[in-house]
């Protein structure tokens, strides 16, 4: 306990604080970019997956395979696989880019499922009415289905975003300077692990908790609408 109090001032040095805040930023960025890309691509995948034309069957199969695979592999394994593929293919040296690619691939798979669920939650009668009035598949999605599906998509999607922030901790294993890795660095520097990892836990909490509350608030708002 005394060690903690002893170390506290040098631990909370300006350099350390900035270091940790930067790392928090990286964590947040990884999750945000992953989810934004994941949402865009995931929506595209969901739309194509629900098409009925026979020509697009190979595409639909590919999409199913892709989403099932990336949802059934641990984050760590996906990360390492991409890492080694990029390393061997000499594609890029940047750890950050490798991490971003991985988070995007994973987020896309998960979010496309969420979007798909949302689209399926809209009653078939809405599709029928639009079809009878000659709406095309894409017109129906744009004018009728998506505006209604959004209510069902947003809560789990946002929830996933918050969950994803925690998953990014694994990016520390390839050396990306996010929050967990920053913790390891400080721990290796000799600071008390209780102090270091306790602080890291608190910082993750500060990142995640307000978003969680915001999400719950939005859920209540959407529910009453």
């Amino acid at each position: 306990m005394d060690r903690l109090i002893q170390e506290l001032p040098s631990f909370l040095s300006i350099w350390n604080i900035i270091f940790l805040l930067k790392a928090m930023g990286v964590t947040f960025l990884l999750s945000l970019i992953g989810c934004l890309v994941g949402f865009s691509l995931g929506t595209l995948l969901a739309i194509f997956r629900k098409t009925k034309s026979a020509l697009l069957i190979p595409l639909r199969i590919l999409i199913v395979i892709y989403t099932e695979i990336f949802r059934r592999i641990p984050f760590l394994v996906s990360l390492l696989l991409i890492f080694y593929i990029f390393q061997i293919g000499k594609i890029t040296d940047s750890l950050f880019i490798i991490a971003i690619v991985t988070v995007c691939l994973i987020a896309t798979a998960f979010i496309s499922e969420i979007v798909r669920s949302g689209l399926e939650s809209v009653s078939q009668t809405q599709w029928d009415a639009a079809k009878a009035m000659n709406f095309s598949y894409y017109e129906t999605l744009k004018e009728v289905i998506f505006p209604q599906a959004w209510k069902v998509i947003f809560p789990p999607a946002f929830s996933f975003f918050i969950l994803f922030i925690k998953d990014t901790a694994l990016a520390s294993q390839i050396g990306v300077m996010e929050l967990t890795f920053a913790g390891k660095v400080l721990n290796n520097k000799g600071f008390s692990p209780i102090l270091v990892f306790g602080t890291v836990l608190i910082l993750y909490f500060i990142l995640s908790f307000p978003l969680d509350r915001f999400g719950k608030y939005m859920e209540r708002k959407y529910a009453t609408n």
């Binding site: 641990p74 760590l76 394994v77 696989l81």
Partner: protein, 225 residues
């Protein structure tokens, strides 16, 4: 590119790798069961306890669901020795996963409690069911049916979560992949095989859970769509 995929060089290691899957299974079953047990206790306190107890549980659950499991285990593994508690990697991972699981399962099970509708209880009461009979014939079956999908889902998530044990040197599936990689440097081959094993494991698990769900609890789970 200068690198060719040579899967033959790693085939001799596959039995070793697969044996790791067995360790992963042990971890997840232990952590899941313990987590469910403690989660139930927490959920009960949260629903029926007095204000202070409820607040404590809320704090615990909020904290564990807003911070990454990896960092929680880091804390247990590196910080506890400071106060004299030395945990082996396996135990640290187990405890970490259990504590984490208990928090999530508390929420899941609490939702189950709350889903019992008053009219079901009323109906049972008017038919002169005793409290025990109410629990056995009305409440439990209903709760099991409601809880089965989210708990199954969490089980799958935990199965994937066991991969972080590798970071602490536990020789489960991912851990063994690390070892093989260190020996043969055939990274892409090894990790792609590891990924495949995880996919197969989760597929089998989902299938089994779907069957159990259908026959024992009449709860339906989607395997693939």
């Amino acid at each position: 590119m200068g690198y060719t995929l040579i899967y033959s060089q790693v085939t001799e290691y596959i039995p070793y790798l697969l044996a790791g899957a067995w360790i992963s299974l042990q971890i997840v079953i232990l952590a899941f069961s313990a987590g469910m047990f403690f989660g139930l206790i927490l959920a009960s306190i949260r629903t029926f306890g007095n204000l202070t107890l409820r607040r404590t549980v809320i704090f615990y659950v909020t904290f564990f669901t807003n911070t990454p499991q990896l960092v929680q285990i880091y804390f247990l593994f590196f910080a506890l020795p400071e106060i004299g508690i030395l945990l082996s990697p396996f135990v640290a991972v187990l405890i970490g996963m259990t504590l984490n699981a208990a928090a999530y399962m508390c929420e899941i099970q609490r939702a189950g409690f709350l889903s019992i509708r008053q009219n079901e209880l009323d109906a049972a009461r008017t038919m002169s069911f005793s409290i025990v009979q109410q629990v056995r014939f009305v409440i439990l079956p209903h709760i099991m049916k409601v809880l089965f999908p989210p708990l199954s889902n969490h089980y799958i998530l935990m199965t994937l979560g066991t991969s972080m044990a590798a970071i602490f040197g536990v020789e489960e599936l991912t851990g063994r992949a690390f070892n093989i990689n260190a020996e043969t440097f055939r990274s892409v081959e090894i990790f792609s095989i590891t990924a495949l094993v995880y996919i197969i494991i989760t597929f089998i698990a989902t299938l089994l859970l779907a069957i159990i769900g259908k026959y024992f609890f009449k709860a339906k789970i989607r395997i693939i769509q």
